[in-house]
Every structure is written in C-alpha cells, then in structure tokens.
C-alpha cells in the first residue's frame, strides 16, 4: 500500500497536464487565420456592448451571498453524510437543524423578493 499522499500528488500532476496538454495540442494542430473580429475581446461568445468596465448591479451581491451559503452548507454536509452510520443520534439531528436553519434563510430571501430579477 503506497502512501495515500501519492494519489494527491498524482492528481495534481494529472490536473495540471490535461489543460496544458489541451492548449499545447490546440497551438500545434489548430489552423491560424486571424482577422480583427477573432482578435477582439469577447465575453461568453457575445459581442461586447459598450464599455466593458461597467458597474454591476448590486443584486449580484445577494445572489452571490445566497450561493455562497449553500455552497458552504454542502461542504459541511459531505463529512456529515459520510459518517452517517457511525454517529450518535444527536449529531444526525444537529445536521438536520443546520439544514432547517438554512432553509429558513432561503424562505426569508425568497419571501423578501431577493431571488427575483428586477
């Protein structure tokens, strides 16, 4: 049985090789026919309208916040779910309470209309 850290090392190496490889292969094999439109900056394939240094809607902030909360929730729930069969009842209940509190937060955001795009 090799040291378990070896797998993490391998994972890092492979994770680095795949994107670098893709870019290098595209550089070597890809045909190069540049024109002004191709050279211009683009955002998700759409043509930019107006200045790209614009102020963002503050509403993004609320979305980002709500997203972050549930993202972090998932991080906490993974170990909880994996240890499910080894833990006493109250720990299982703690996880449920955690979810209930976050759901209450979601209901609050929803009811306050923060999830509607205006």
């Amino acid at each position: 049985m090799p040291n378990p850290w070896v797998f993490i090392g391998l994972f890092i190496i492979i994770a680095a090789i795949i994107p670098i490889g893709a870019i290098v292969v595209a550089l070597i094999l890809g045909p190069k026919k540049p024109n002004p439109i191709k050279q211009s900056t683009y955002e998700c394939g759409l043509e930019t309208v107006g200045d790209s240094l614009v102020q963002f809607k503050a509403q993004y902030y609320v979305f980002a916040l709500a997203f972050l909360i549930f993202d972090v929730e998932a991080v906490f729930l993974f170990p909880w779910a994996i240890a499910m069969n080894k833990m006493p009842l109250y720990v299982a209940l703690e996880g449920v309470i955690f979810i209930v509190i976050l759901v209450a937060g979601l209901v609050y955001t929803w009811r306050k209309g923060a999830l509607e795009w205006v």
Binding site: P88, Y90, I101, A104, V107, Y108, R111, K112
Partner: protein, 484 residues
C-alpha cells in the same frame, strides 16, 4: 477525555437555545405578518418565556455543559435575568419609536433576540472559543441594528464605523486567545487555571494574551482609549437601539471580562493591576471631561456611558485580591443593574422628546420641560441625579458599593479620582436639569404609552430600590462564579 452529549448539556444553555430558535421562527412569522406590532408582542413573549426557562434552569446551578465549554452558575443566571429584562425594556421603548420614525421593520425584533442570545451565551462561556463565538454572535446583530435607520446616512455611517472597529476588536480577542493557547496549551478557563497552578504556563505569553483580550473586550464596553466608536455609533443609531446597546452590550462585555479575569487570570492580577488602574482612571477622566462640551443629548449620554464603564472597571481593578474579589464582583453586578435601570429611563425621555429628522435632541431643546411636563421632567431629574450618584437614587447606592470595593482593595488614589470625576460629571448632568427648570421653552413630546410607562417605572425603581437596596445587593453577592 470528551464525554458524549447528554440532556443536561442542553439544559445548561436552555434559554439561549430557546431564544435563538424563537428568533429564527419570528423572522419567518414576520414575513406573513402585516402589523409589525404582532412581531413585537411575540418577541416580548419569547423573552418572557426565556425568563421562565431561566427560573426552571436555576435548579441545575453549578453544572457545566458541553465538556466545560459553558457553565451554569449564579453569576450567569443573574446576568442573564438582567439581560432578558433589558431586552424587554428595549422592545418596549422601540415599539412606538420605530413607527414614529418610519423605520418599523419586522427584522428589528429577531435581531434584538439574536443579539440577546449571544450576550447570554457570553455570560455562560467557560472557554475562550465560546467567548469569541458569542462575542461575534452578539455583535453582528448590533451592527445591523445600528444601521437600522437606513437610508439615513448618519445611521449607516454609525453602523459601518461600529462594524469596522468591532471587527478590529474581534481580531484582538482572537489574537489574545491564540497567545493564551500558546502559553497554557488550552482555551478552557479551568485548563488555564490548572496550567498556571502546575507551573506549565509561559507567564509572559499569558500576560500578553490577557492584555489583548482586555483590549478586545474593552472595545465592547467602551473603555478609553478604545472608545472612539462610541459617540458616533450611539448618536447615529436609532435611539431605541442605543438604549438597548448601551445597557445590554455593556452588561455582556463586563460579564465576560469578570468571568475570564476573575477566574482564569486571577493569578496574573499583580501584572494587570497597573494596566486596569490606568485604564479605569483614564476612562473616568476622558469620559467625563469630553461629556462637558456636548450639546447633543445622545452624544452626552454616550460619553456618560464611557465614564460609567470607567467606574465599573475601577471596582474590578482588584479582581485578583482574594479578600476583595467577591465584594468587587457583587459591586460590579449591582452597579450594572443600577445603570441598566437608570440608563433605560434616561433614554426613554430622549425617545419621547425626539422627533423625526433628528429634531429635539439638543440639550437646549429641553428648556421649559419642567413647566410643560412636570412629571417627565421630574423623572429626568431623578435619572440625572442617579447618573451623578446623588441621593435618593440607585446611582448613589451603586457608587457606594463600587467605592467600598475600591477602598477595601487599598486603591485610595483611584477612589479619589473616581470621586473627583463624579463631581465633574455633576456639571453636565445638572445642565440638563437647569435647562428643564430654569429656562423657558416649548418642548414637544410624543405621548407613546409604552415609552411613558417604562420611563415612569424606571424612575420609581431608581428611587424605591435605592431606599431598600439590600435585597438586590444580596442577590448580586449570591451570584457566585463557578467552574465545576
């Protein structure tokens, strides 16, 4: 080493759990409630149930919960009862005020409850990690409440200032905790005591940690030189919030300070006495001197609250002296109770006189109050006398116990500074009284039944309890600190 969670663990912090859960529910109920006064009454009901649970919980005094993370002792029950009562008073004062100022939003009441549950946890914390957790738990709702008069710029500014400086102070506490952990290899208060007793602790590191924790908590209770946020935050926040903040947050901050220092750091008291001596003398001087030039009553009361933090710290300076510690803790608790009563009364008068758009807050605007509303002016006179410490008020009795503790600890120069600064304070407190009775004017009050009731009740309590203070002092001296 760690024991599994038992039912007893939950009983030790039952009111805290209940209040936090109630606040979550209230936040949801409020979404479907049209009249925000329903939310207010439900919040008050929650606090009343909390008091009931506290009474039920008292049968388990002397127990620790969650592997000694929290304790339930006479001290915590006394402080928590005071906190719950001050929450009730705060909600009663806010009830009409919020509507009149056009900021009646349902979130106010859950935020007050969240903050209170943090404060109550703070009074029970027996581990520095729990102290930090509850410090953040009580502070974050307070930051929001300070900025509650949104979109009023002054209130938002106050909230931001309070948040930035509070976060900074929180950093000090964490740094202090880290140093203490480095010195004693534990964050549990009983573990720190054991480490010091067995000589395992690195004392210089421990003193630095204790000093940093003192800085962080000093921010919360507004001790000079960590008081800079106080006048701005107290002036910018809606008055009902300031009333709550200046009483309850101070109470919780001192509760944590007393528990941490009197228990875990009592062996460091020789090193800490000069620091506490200087801080309390500086706080009394600066607070009282800077209150003199203020013309805005909210700002004046903010500086006065700084000065009172100094008086309380003065009595606490001798915390490590075993002969004096008990008397001084009882005096601190008694004074906190007396200050809460007087402070709510004074803020009640401020709230009654305040009109939308920051009008009616100048001390000059109190001219003629004595002629037009004699009863209200009499109440305000009682509160001002109590804040100075003149008879026949609770402030006098409170100061008497404070000075007795200081003199018992043989810190005569500090007591002299305390008496002299009390004399200075008479200047600006009496100026309000002079304005009310000796100048002519036409002040306007908003007759809100709850604020009027609270103001009257506090005035009666200030006088009556001062005539028979023995029972309250008895309760305060029964409020022992326990760890096990």
């Amino acid at each position: 080493m760690t024991t599994p969670v038992k039912l007893l663990d939950f009983i030790t912090i039952l009111p805290v759990i209940f209040l936090a859960a109630w606040a979550c529910l209230l936040l949801l109920v409020d979404l479907w409630v049209k009249h925000k006064r329903v939310t207010a009454y439900l919040a008050a009901l929650g606090l009343a149930i909390g008091l009931g649970l506290l009474w039920y919980q008292a049968a388990w005094i002397g127990n620790a919960g969650f592997n000694h993370m929290v304790v339930l002792d006479g001290f915590s029950v006394f402080v928590n009862a005071l906190l719950l009562l001050s929450g009730l008073l705060g909600i009663a004062l806010a009830y009409g005020y919020l509507r009149r100022m056009g900021i009646e939003r349902g979130e106010f009441y859950p935020l007050v409850l969240f903050s209170l549950s943090g404060m109550m946890l703070m009074a029970q914390a027996a581990d520095l990690i729990v102290v930090f957790l509850s410090l953040e738990f009580l502070s974050i709702p307070l930051y929001v409440l300070t900025a509650f008069a949104y979109p009023k710029a002054a209130s938002e500014e106050a909230g931001l200032k309070y948040f930035l400086l509070g976060a900074f102070a929180g950093g000090f506490v964490v740094y202090g905790i880290a140093l203490v952990y480095g010195a004693a290899a534990t964050t549990a208060l009983d573990g720190i005591i054991a480490a010091v007793a067995e000589g395992r602790a690195n004392l210089s590191l421990l003193v630095s940690g204790a000093a940093l924790i003192l800085v962080g908590l000093g921010f919360k209770v507004a001790i000079v030189p960590f008081h800079m946020w106080t006048p701005d935050a107290y002036q910018g926040a809606p008055s009902a919030v300031t009333a709550f903040m200046s009483s309850a947050a101070k109470l919780a901050g001192f509760a944590a300070l007393v528990r941490i220092f009197a228990l875990a750091f009592s062996s460091l008291s020789d090193d800490l006495i000069p620091i506490l001596w200087g801080l309390s003398a500086l706080t009394m001087l600066v607070g009282n001197l800077l209150a003199i030039p203020q013309t805005n009553i909210k700002r004046m009361l903010a500086y006065s609250s700084i000065a009172h933090a100094g008086y309380i710290l003065m009595a606490f300076t001798a915390f490590g002296n075993p002969g004096v510690a008990e008397v001084s803790i009882a005096a601190v608790l008694f004074y906190l109770a007396a200050y809460t009563v007087t402070n709510y009364g004074a803020w009640g008068v401020v709230i009654l006189l305040e009109r939308a758009g920051d009008l009616g807050l100048e001390i000059g605007g109190y001219a003629g109050l004595g002629r037009k509303y004699p009863a209200l002016a009499a109440c305000m006179t009682i509160f001002m006398l109590s804040l100075i410490g003149l008879p026949p008020t609770l402030g006098l009795v409170g100061k008497f116990y404070l000075f007795r503790a200081v003199i018992a600890a043989d810190l005569i120069p500090l007591a002299v500074i305390g008496v002299l600064t009390s004399l200075i304070s008479a200047w600006y407190y009496l100026r309000v009284v002079v304005n009310m009775y000796m100048r002519t004017g036409d002040p306007e009050i908003s007759p809100e039944p709850w604020a009027l009731t609270i103001t009257g009740l506090m005035a009666i309590l200030t006088v009556l309890v001062s005539l028979l203070p023995g029972w309250l002092f008895f309760l305060a001296s029964q409020a022992r600190l326990n760890l096990f």
